[in-house]
Structure formats: structure tokens, C-alpha cells
Symmetry: D3
Subunit: 136 residues, 6 copies
């Protein structure tokens, strides 16, 4: 009797999309205005979905406070009000929202063990969202 | 050629999360402020997803009015503007939104037969949602 | 050069609309299903608007952290996850959202002094909102 | 390392649900007020989801500008501010939102090749949405 | 002690913006793609705001059920799932959302007397809204 | 017969709140985490409200395309996907959203003449918004 719980967290950060080995022309061809030299920013919404059996005593998939503590410590406190390009998670990869979703998923899947991490969805704007559910 | 139709219904209800066999300390440890003695409440959004072949004559998965009648009668009329703890559905289980999703799914799956019930998603707040898709 | 800042806070509570002097019939006539005996609940959104000159050094109407601390202490901590009918603010008046807006406005206007309180708007559901801007 | 990108597009159109071989009574039985003779309309939100490996150099599933150009040319420019009943896509099928989702999916799947088209979801109103993910 | 109550209603309708005395060129110059010959449509959100003293016995500005009955009968039942161009309200004026707001305001102000009608706001799309508050 | 038209525009930008004459301690005291050294960012929603008589021939307050052209050229093209701190508008003032609203209002009020500019509202996050309506 598996149920799923999805919880949304919000953080604001800046990023600039460009690849160090690329010329300016290549960066603009790949990223358009997202390659503008001084960066820009977003209000990111991070939706974390976990799943598992509903515990017969508590009626819950997992303790929501435990999930909150974990996501706040590992994700929100680390990335909120920062420049993503300067975070070690983006030292080798471009801070696209695809890579941001993967970074969040990988980090949570190794530390949150109270229920199964199903997927991470990151809304970059009200029109764009990205989703990652692990290697399959 | 299977398509899916999702329809959102809204209802307001109160609940208190606590387990009768638990001490007050255990209830607060499990449910935090949701165990406050006099209850609190939510505007629940219930999203019901059904799926099936698109009927070649009508172009529809099923008659939306029939789905509405069923969900209103079975779910909205029963739970809207009530205290969930007093409903027979929660006599033996705690009215968490996990259990509320399961109660809605089980009820609809036994009475709505015009298309296959795929899943029930219940938003408890704008940041929390729960999903149940049957025993699998 | 007056600007306005609006900030949204969220809280979940239950209430039952009924007046003690009224008969059951009178209460149902006045409040409909909101008079159901065991209460129901809502996710309330409280939007607080303050206004004033933009401070030339900081570029702000007021310190947002100060507003947050005040609203959290005076409003959110007090009413979140409670039954409004049991709060002293509603000992003599029915906990309609009109009266809830007035209670929030009156409380904030006496303690938040860093900018002028302009109005309080409370969304009871996604379709209903109430606003109060003081005696005029 | 497959990730998913969902992008929302908006268009406004009118339609009338009725089937030519049906009598008026049959049309009203099938479609209710959606069969009203002079049509009505909606603000449709079309969410297109594509998936694929995250390209190691760019960090992207595909070029978002390329997806935008394709959806705008094939879908938005064609259907926005039109009467769906008059479009060749609905010459033989009723312009229900089920059929609209299928028409969009089929069109995109044959022309957008930069990533795999996963599904098309069309919101007809804030309470109704429809989804199609191809023949399976 | 005046408070305000705002209530949202939803209706779907089609319209075409063109003026009979205008040439096609003039209509396209004035209305762009909104002048397309076969019309298009929207999900309109109509927000009605009324205000007045909070009644000391009931704690309400007015009976919400009474407002609902009035708006449903006068506005929703009349305009929902119709073609606005064919309604007598738009026989002499173009069915722009400015004129739709005025038509709704004028109709409600003459029949809803339980509280003062303050304004009518109509959202045409998620990005466009129009407001009318009577002759002043 | 004055009506109002509000139109929403979206742009993403980064900013850092700090004042050059302030010490680091003063900046953190004033702006909290918004003073983090490498900036952060937001998806800003800019809502522009204009008002005027409804033109009897067209039924419109003003030509929406003209408003769009003006706001896109003067505001969106200038600020979207940029770092606000580097814009000449913020050479002498801190790029708080209060000052951003004022900068937008002042710029539009001097160039958009087809209807009266009533106010500019900027949403910085889903919980924070700022409004400016000119010197009064």
C-alpha cells in the first residue's frame, strides 16, 4: 500500500549559463540570453517526492518534519540566496536546472533514508520545470 | 490510444492528528502541532485522474458530468465542511492526508466504473500533496 | 515617495460559524454548511500591506525581518493549527473571516510601528477573500 | 542519466462540442452546455514534456529555444486565437481536449526530434486537464 | 467598521473583437489577432468585491449565499459557455473585457442590494485583467 | 466611465542588496542573507496598471499592443536576464524591489502616454510584492 508525499521548498539564487571551454559565440549559441556575462536569477521551487508504505500506526509515509530538516539543511541552507556558479556542485558542470535537479536528487538520495526518494522536480520559472528520478 | 483526464475538486475540513493508544508525548513526537488538542483545518484539493481509450464517437475518455456526480456524491458531500476525525472512514486509522487519499481512492474505485481510476492526489496545503494509486 | 510592501503568511485553522444566542435553524439560515456542528477548516493566507517613504539609505519601506518577526509572533504562532472558536479574540464575536481580518489588523496596528499598516487581506479559500483597512 | 524538461505554452481558442451525426438531444446528452450552438472558449495551457540524457557539455536535455520555435510554429501559431472546430485537425473528430492533446502530441512527435517527446498535457480550465503519451 | 468581501466566479466564453463600421484593415489595426474572423475564447475569472459594515450579530458583510445566487443567476448562467458577441449586452458595444466588466458591474449594481458593490475585476488570461468601479 | 487594465510581464534578474558606504556588518543587519556577497536572483512579475475612459468606438482603454511594445522595450529588454546592480538605474540607489518599482514607474510614466499610468506592482517572490503609484 504505497503512497507518495510531495513537498515544495523555495529558494532564490542566481546563475549564468556558460561553459569555460566554449567561446562567447558558442556560449550564446547554446544558452542565449542565459549566457549574459553578469548572470541573472530565479525563484526556484524544489518539489521532492518520496514514497513508501503507509505506516499502520501513524498513517504516514514518513515524518514530514524529518524530511523538512533534511531538505533545509542539505539544499535550502546551501543554495538559497547564493550564486550557483560558485557552488562546488557546479565546479565541473554547468548550473543548468537539469544539473541542479540531479545535484539535489543525488544529495538527498544519499542522506534521506526514512522513505524512498522517488523524484526531484525543480521549477525554474512558472513555465519551465525539470525532473530527475535517478539513474535507470 | 489511451488518454488521461484529471479533474480537481475542493473541500474544506478539519482534522486532528493523534492516535488513541499514544500518550500525548508520543502524539506530539509523531505529529507536531498537528496534534494540537482542538484540531485545525485545511482547504483540500482532490485531483482525480481517470484513463481509458478515447471513444471514437464522442472524443471523450468518459462523461465528465458522470465523474462529477460520482465524486460530489461520494466524496465532496460527505467530507466537505466536516471534521474528518468523526467520519467512519477514520474510525480505525488516523486522518492523515495519506489515509484520506487512500479512503478516496478506495471509495471511488468501487463505484466509478466508466473509466479506469488511475490515481488520487490530495493537496493539503499549497506545499504538501499526497498521492495514491491503489495496491500494486 | 510612498511605496507599499505586501507580504503573505499562511496558517491552517478550524472554525465553526454559529452564534450562541441563535437557534440551530437561525445558525443554518445565517451560515449554511459553515454551521455544521463539529467545525471544518481552511488554509488561510494572510496578506499584510504596509506603506511609507522609501528610506534613502536602505531603499526599503521597513525591515522585512522585523515585519516577519512581528506577524509570526502575534498572528501565526497564535492562530496556526488551532480552533479559532476557542481563541479569546472570538469569545464575543463569531470567527467569520471578516472578524478574523479585523482581529489581525487591530492586533498588528497596535504593535507594528516601523511602517504604517495599510490593510490586512485574508484569503479563506482560493475563491473568497476579505479585507479590512481600519476604521475610517 | 535521463532527465525531463516540461515547458508550458498558452493559447486561447473557441470550440463547440457536437457530433454531426448526432441529433441535438444526443449532443446535449453527451456534451451538456459544451454543445451550446454558438461555441464558447478557453485559455488552454499546453505543457510539453521531453526527456533524454543530459548532454555532458551543455548540461541540457535539448535546446529550449529549438523546442520553443517548434511548438510556436506547429501549435501556438496554428491554434491560438482560432475556432478549433474549423481546423483541419478536427474535420473528422470532435475538438474535445482529449482529441486536442492527441493532435498536439502526434504533430510534435513527428517534427521535434531533438529529444524524446514524453507526453502532452492540456489544461482546459484550472480544474480540468488532459494528458496523452502516445500509443502504447 | 467597513470590511470588504471579494468572491471569484469562473465562466468560459468565446468572443471576436471587431467593429461593424470598421473595415477589416481597421479591425486588425485595432484588435490584432483578436479580430480573427471565427472568434476565439477565454476562461474568464470574475471577481466581485462588495463592502459594508460587519453586522454585529452575524459577523458578516452580507450573506455569501445571497451574493452567489445573484451572480450565478445574473452573470454566470447568462454568459457561461456562450459566444459573447451574440448577447444583447454587446449589441451596440464591442465585447472587449473592458466592456464586459462594465456590463457585469452595471447589472449587479442594479440588483444586488445587500451590500455596496465596490468593483468588478475580470481576468481574461493569467496576464490580463480589467477593473471597473462605476461612474465617478 | 473610467476602467483599468492590468498587464503582467515577467523577467528574471539577479541582485545583491548592500550599500557601498555600509560596513559588512551594517549590510547584513539591514539586508540579512540578501547581502550575501555574490548575489542571488528572482523571477520578477511586473504588473502595470493603466486607466482611462473606455473609447466608445473600440471599447478599449488603450491599445494593448502599444502597451506591450512600450513595456518590452523600456523594461523587459533592459532588465531581463541581467544583474540589476550593474544597471545605471541602480548606480545611486540600492536595487531593492521598492526602488525597482519606482524605477519602472518613473520610466513608464515618461514614455507611455496612451493612458494614465496608475501604478506598478512588482512581485519579487510568491510571498512578497511591492507597489508604487507615483509621488502624491
Amino acid at each position: 500500500m504505497r503512497a507518495y508525499l510531495s513537498r515544495r521548498y523555495r529558494l532564490s539564487a542566481s546563475h549564468r549559463l556558460y561553459r569555460q571551454g566554449f567561446s562567447d559565440e558558442q556560449n550564446f549559441a547554446a544558452y542565449g540570453k542565459c549566457a549574459n556575462p553578469h548572470g541573472h536569477g530565479h525563484n526556484y521551487v524544489v518539489e521532492v517526492t518520496v514514497g513508501g508504505a503507509v505506516h499502520p500506526a501513524t498513517g504516514m509515509v514518513c515524518d514530514l518534519g524529518e524530511l523538512d530538516d533534511c531538505v533545509r539543511k542539505e539544499i535550502v541552507d546551501r543554495f538559497d540566496h547564493t550564486n550557483l556558479n560558485l557552488d562546488p556542485a557546479f565546479r565541473e558542470v554547468v548550473p543548468t536546472t537539469e544539473n541542479f535537479s540531479i545535484a539535489i536528487y543525488d544529495r538527498l538520495s544519499s542522506v534521506f533514508l526514512a522513505a524512498k526518494l522517488i523524484r526531484v522536480r525543480v521549477e525554474e520559472t512558472s513555465n519551465n520545470s525539470f525532473e530527475y528520478a535517478g539513474k535507470k
